[in-house]
Symmetry: none
Amino acid sequence: MDALTQTFSALADPTRRAIIARLAAGEATVGEIAKPFQISGPAISRHLKVLEEAWLIERKVQARWRVCSLRRERLTEAQAWIDEMREFWSKGFDRLEALLEAQRKDDNEKETP
Amino acid sequence: MDALTQTFSALADPTRRAIIARLAAGEATVGEIAKPFQISGPAISRHLKVLEEAWLIERKVQARWRVCSLRRERLTEAQAWIDEMREFWSKGFDRLEALLEAQRKDDNEKETP
DNA sequence: GCCTCATTTAACCTTCATGTTAAACAACGC
DNA sequence: GCGTTGTTTAACATGAAGGTTAAATGAGGC
């Protein structure tokens, strides 16, 4: 699964977006993150795992709490992709060929793992 | 289902991102869109339906083809959300920087009175 | 009207995502 | 050591996503 797919999948869930919004304001423990939500602890824990695997957050152990914080890279990549689309659309199509070529390559790699 | 969820869900699929990339270069018929992919026609049709319901594309009838084109609104919204997160994040970071700076200053004043 | 091409809908299958509860694990305070 | 608190893992139910083939629909051309 490529990075963009992982990023957009992670962002597709409202709970996870809310978690990201919370962490954008600063790091927080799992308990603090969980508090505003109705869903169970394990459900939150799974969301955090998804976010971590997507490289959108990182976790560290601090005393007996796990502290989560936001990472910027993948958000930046996702934004760059959207930007690229909007640029293609408005500016011109020079780089489209390269992009489609790269995607074909990705697809081939996906088909023959 | 809110707009952001719909948008990010739609973008979470590589095939749909490729379709968007294609349409960023200009409108295209369903057949043209389908050509680069291995998957069946109905599968493409479903992807297009998802994209249309997410307001990422629109379809019009032209002779006996359905012509698809990109819409910009929802992409813009998604980008704005990411932007906002990054802004919060960098503000938080700035606050942290300011705090650390203040502490360094305090320390210096303590050490060298 | 009827044949053909382009696309969609229907029916179905399989896999994955998300939620739940119960149990396990880890770190601290007594 | 033992109970308490914070968090994760296990096992399971359920609904949604994405693929397939076969049949239906829609718009032209003859």
